[in-house]
Symmetry: C2
Subunit: 325 residues, 2 copies
C-alpha cells in the first residue's frame, strides 16, 4: 500500500502550479516556460496566461495581435471603438476556437462540454465568455460550484453524503466526489449552478436547496494540467470553487439521477478522513472537504501542524483579475 | 461625513503591507527598503524581516552576525552545536532586547505587555520566543485569537455580541472589537487564549466556552506599522488571527470584567454592517467580522462584487514559515 498523504499534500496536489509570481512574466528564461499574457481590449491586466506551444499552434485570426517580445502578449483587438467590446471578444474567441477545432490541433477541444465559461474580471458592459473546453488553453479562470450535504444523528454526530463517480466517467472514474458539484456556465451564478446540479446529480428538491443551501467560502488555486489528463499538459489554469453547505434531516437521502454518480454513501467524519488520506477523492473535491473540515473545527491548530499553510493554500491569490475594478 | 468604505477596503486596511514578494529580498534598490532576513541557526528560511533603520539602531550582541551584503541578513548564532538551540535563541533575544530597552532606542519596547510571543515555524526541540513588544521589530509572526459570540432570536435572526473598547485603552480607544480577543502568549495555544480571555473580557463561563467554542478559520495578513501607532513605523509584521465561533442562547449575556471593555451591544447583522463600513471597528477585528460574514453566507458572490478578492486577501500567504517542516 502506498504511503498515506497528509491534508497539506492533498491541497498541494490541487494547487499544483509552481509558486512563482505568474504575473511577473516571463518567470523563466526557458523559452518554453515564458508564458504569454492574454490581454483583452483596453485593459492592462492579463486575463490569462498561455503556453508558448499553444500560442504557436493556435490558428490565430486577425482579431488577435501576437507579440513575441517581452512581455510576450496575445492582444485581443477591438475594432468597434469600445461600443460593444464584450460581443467583439466573444466573436473573436468563437472564431479562433472553431478554426482550431476544425484543424484538430488541440486534444482539449475534443472534450464534449458544449457550454461556455465566463472570463472573470472583464470590465465591459456584458459578459465575456468562451467555450469551456478552450478556457484552459487560454489560461483564463474557470469556475466550479461545490455543495457539501451533511446531517446529524440523534447523538449529534456529523455525517456527510459522499457520492462515488461512475466508472464510465471520462474524468476521474470511480473516485469519491463532493455531494453536488459542477462547472458554472457563463450565463449562470454559482448558486444557480448548485440548484440545478442538486437536482440532476442528487435528486434534491429545488425549494429545499434554495431555502437552506448556504454560501460559505471560495477555494482558489492554480492548476498545472497533467500528462494523462487527455488534453494539453503544462497549462496554467486559475480555478475558483464556490463552496456551499447544506445541512439536511436524516430523512433526506440523495439519489443518483443522471449517469455521473454510481452511489451515495453516508460517511462518518473518520471514514471521510481515511478516504481522503488514501487519495480516494477527486483531487479538487479533497480540497473542498478539507475546507469543510476547517470551517467545522474538525481540522484545527491543536490537531494539525500544517493548519496555517492549509488555510492559506486553499485561498491562493489568483494571477488574473476577479472583479471589474 | 467621510465616504463609506467597502468590505475590500477594510480588509486591505488590515493587510496593508505592499503586495511584493517579501521573501525575494531585497525587493527594492532603495537602501531604506531592502529588508534584512532574520535567520535562526541551521535554517535557511527567514523567520522575520527587519527594517534597515532597526538593524542599524539595535545594540547587537555577539550572539548575532549581521551581513550588509545582499541578501542582507541577521544571523542568530548557535555556539551549542545544536544541543539546545531553542534556549540559545531565547537567551540571545532576551539579551539584545534587554540592552535595547536600557538604551531606550525603540519606542516599541516601552509598551507594557510583559509576555512573550512564540516564533512560528522554528524547527528545534522546544519553543523559540521573544518579548511581545519586540516581535514586530524583528518582523517575526504574531498570533492573536478572536472569538465571535452570537445568538439567534425566536424568529431565527442572527445577532452578534460586539464590545466597545474602553476610551482609556492605549490602542484603539473607543473602537468596536471582536466579542473576545487577545494576543496568544508563547506558552499557550490559541484555544487556551480564548478560554481565559472569554473569562477576563466577557465573564463567559469556562466550561461553556470549552464545550461550545468552535475553531473555524485563520486569517493571515502582513501589516505595515503606521506612523502614530506609538512605535516604529514601516515595520513588516506577519500576523495570524485564529478565529472561533460561539453560538449561545439568548440567556447568555457577556459582561465586562477587566477594564478593557466599556460595554457589550447585541447588534443585528445590518447594524454590524453599518458600523463596519463607517470604520467603527478596530481594523483587524473588521477582517474577523468579514470572515464571519463570509462563512455565514451574509457576504457572498451574489451580493458582493469583490467576493473573491476578499476571500483570498483574508488568507494572505505569509513570508515566514508557519510549521517546522
Amino acid at each position: 500500500m502506498s504511503q498515506l498523504k497528509t491534508y497539506l499534500d492533498l491541497v498541494k496536489t490541487t494547487d499544483n502550479y509552481p509558486l512563482v509570481d505568474i504575473t511577473q512574466l516571463p518567470y523563466a528564461e526557458d523559452p518554453e516556460k515564458g508564458l504569454y499574457q492574454l490581454l483583452l481590449p483596453n485593459d492592462l491586466r492579463p486575463h490569462g496566461f498561455m503556453l508558448p506551444s499553444v500560442v504557436r499552434q493556435m490558428p490565430w485570426t486577425s482579431d488577435f495581435s501576437i507579440s513575441h517580445e517581452r512581455p510576450r502578449t496575445v492582444q485581443l483587438l477591438d475594432g468597434s471603438n469600445g461600443s460593444n467590446t464584450a460581443e467583439v471578444c466573444n466573436a473573436a474567441f468563437k472564431k479562433v476556437i472553431d478554426k482550431a477545432q476544425e484543424a484538430q490541433v488541440f486534444a482539449n477541444l475534443h472534450k464534449v462540454w458544449p457550454e461556455d465559461y465566463k472570463v472573470l474580471g472583464a470590465k465591459y458592459e456584458g459578459r465575456v465568455q468562451l467555450l469551456r473546453a478552450a478556457a484552459s488553453l487560454f489560461g483564463v479562470s474557470c469556475r466550479g460550484a461545490h455543495m457539501t450535504v451533511y446531517t446529524r444523528t440523534e447523538s449529534g454526530e456529523l455525517k456527510i453524503w459522499v457520492p462515488r463517480r461512475s466508472k464510465l466517467m471520462q474524468t476521474w472514474p470511480g473516485k469519491l466526489d463532493t455531494t453536488v458539484a459542477g462547472g458554472v456556465r457563463a450565463e449562470e451564478s454559482p448558486f444557480e449552478c448548485i440548484v440545478h446540479e442538486a437536482d440532476e446529480e442528487a435528486s434534491l428538491p429545488e425549494a429545499m436547496v434554495r431555502k437552506n443551501a448556504r454560501p460559505v467560502s471560495a477555494i482558489t488555486y492554480v492548476a498545472e494540467s497533467a500528462a494523462g489528463s487527455g488534453g494539453e499538459f503544462g497549462l496554467c489554469v486559475p480555478d475558483v470553487l464556490y463552496c456551499y453547505d447544506l445541512e439536511v434531516g436524516q430523512d433526506v437521502v440523495p439519489q443518483p439521477q443522471d449517469e455521473e454518480v454510481e452511489a451515495f454513501y453516508l460517511m462518518s467524519v473518520d471514514e471521510v478522513k481515511d478516504a481522503l488520506l488514501r487519495e480516494e477523492f477527486k483531487t479538487n473535491c479533497a480540497s473542498v472537504m478539507i475546507d469543510f473540515f476547517v470551517r467545522h473545527g474538525i481540522i484545527n491548530d491543536d490537531n494539525e501542524p500544517d493548519y496555517l499553510e492549509i488555510v492559506t493554500r486553499l485561498h491562493r491569490p489568483l494571477p488574473v483579475p476577479t472583479s471589474a475594478a
